[in-house]
Symmetry: C2
Subunit: 249 residues, 2 copies
């Protein structure tokens, strides 16, 4: 089975300064999961052309797809389009369709030079139009360049999803138990060894003075995930506790 | 002025699958900001030794400090300590103090081999003890290895903060305005040019059908940030709108 891989590049000083918590990474991760595309890496860099170029070139040569968010607005700190052009070694200029869309959006005289910046697309790029903003994102090669504002990014992602291949999604089964991780760790390690096709993760939780762990079996082979989950449930029962299947959360 | 730099390495399949939104990156970013340390990059990788080693070596050689979260519990998928040892090319074994702390924590017979994994520290590492969990994190060289559970990570970060240098924190002044970014972009670009010591960012907002932007002036020179903020306010007033200083949010 060929599995497509992806990386995400989050661009923006405001993430690194702590001013803004990034939520786009999680959103893109969940969207890719539904398509069966493996998100392998996320990087966050600041509004620095050199940093964007270096990160983008590292990621686009290594993974099948790269998704960027941030830095495509009209202000001086929006430098993503230029950085992407530089990374690809291509020119950049007004994309005729983007220019026309934006020009039609603004009253006479208000389509100023800074707003025109939003029509700049690296040569060879295609637009990512969306329902939330007249300013488009763009795709060039295997790189999808999207807005940082979550509402706009999500609208762009809808269009991006139509351009991505559908693979086999990972089946994820979560079993929750009120036992300490240390109590179940050996049994879990044995089950991982017995079910190498399934990735088994353990995530401790603490709530209202109670504690336990969510045990997650993940595999593209749904039967393998189910078999591993049942083995986990049997192990828990044998320890005298009660396993509970829950939705991943 | 010498400014310390830092990177963060978030470790965990659950972040990349979208199951868990990462909140540790934002927390560490805000803590470092208070110390005046520049967080320059965040990377998220999965529970893969090769990926952790490669990312850690890239980051620790480039930045003054690296902070990792995730993968230090008792279960088989907790592989961070081993990966860190490999990245540094050192051995790994039970740290006597960590071992003693953990041994004292569990009733006789419950300090099993999997729990003992939490006492494994790369040779030369020092413990990061904390109030939330008896299992410590550790520091080796310029790398601080912390838990993924936010409550525990935050407790470890309290100890880590005592080991970091104090620099000059960035002064950040936020001016909010109900104008479209495209309307203020040229004035803002001119101000950025006139105040090169200050980084000026523009972050659009949408709320209840209204829209505008938060304009942020950031500098280690508080006077320079203030001067740039006043220039922004004057520009907004000249455009017939009302600038409003707000707390960064």
């Amino acid at each position: 089975m060929t599995v497509s891989t992806a990386a995400m590049l989050v661009i923006g000083d405001e993430i690194l300064s702590g001013r803004t918590p990034d939520s786009n990474g999680n959103y893109v991760a969940r969207q890719l999961a539904t398509l069966g595309i493996d998100l392998r890496e996320i990087r966050v860099v600041g509004d620095s052309e050199a940093e964007i170029v270096a990160a983008l070139n590292a990621l686009r040569t290594r993974y099948d797809f790269v998704f960027t968010t941030g830095g495509i607005g009209p202000t001086h700190d929006d430098i993503t389009a230029d950085a992407v052009a530089k990374a690809f070694g291509v020119g950049i200029g007004y994309h005729p369709e983007a220019y026309a869309l934006l020009e039609a959006r603004y009253p006479k005289g208000e389509f100023n030079d800074m707003r025109k910046r939003m029509a700049r697309v690296p040569d060879g790029g295609t637009l990512i139009k969306n329902n939330a903003s007249v300013a488009p994102g763009f795709q060039i090669g295997n790189v999808f360049v999207m807005a940082g504002v979550p509402m706009v990014m999500r609208a762009m992602m809808e269009e991006v999803l139509t351009r991505l291949p559908r693979g086999v999604a990972v089946t994820s089964i979560t079993v929750s138990v009120e036992l300490a991780e240390g109590t179940i760790a050996q049994g879990l390690a044995d089950i991982q060894k017995a079910y190498p096709q399934t990735a088994i993760g353990s995530y401790p939780w603490y709530r209202d003075g109670r504690f336990g762990a969510q045990l997650v079996a993940r595999s593209r082979d749904a039967d393998a995930a189910e078999a591993a989950a049942q083995a986990i449930e049997a192990m828990i029962t044998q320890l005298g506790a009660t396993p509970e299947r829950v939705n991943s959360a």
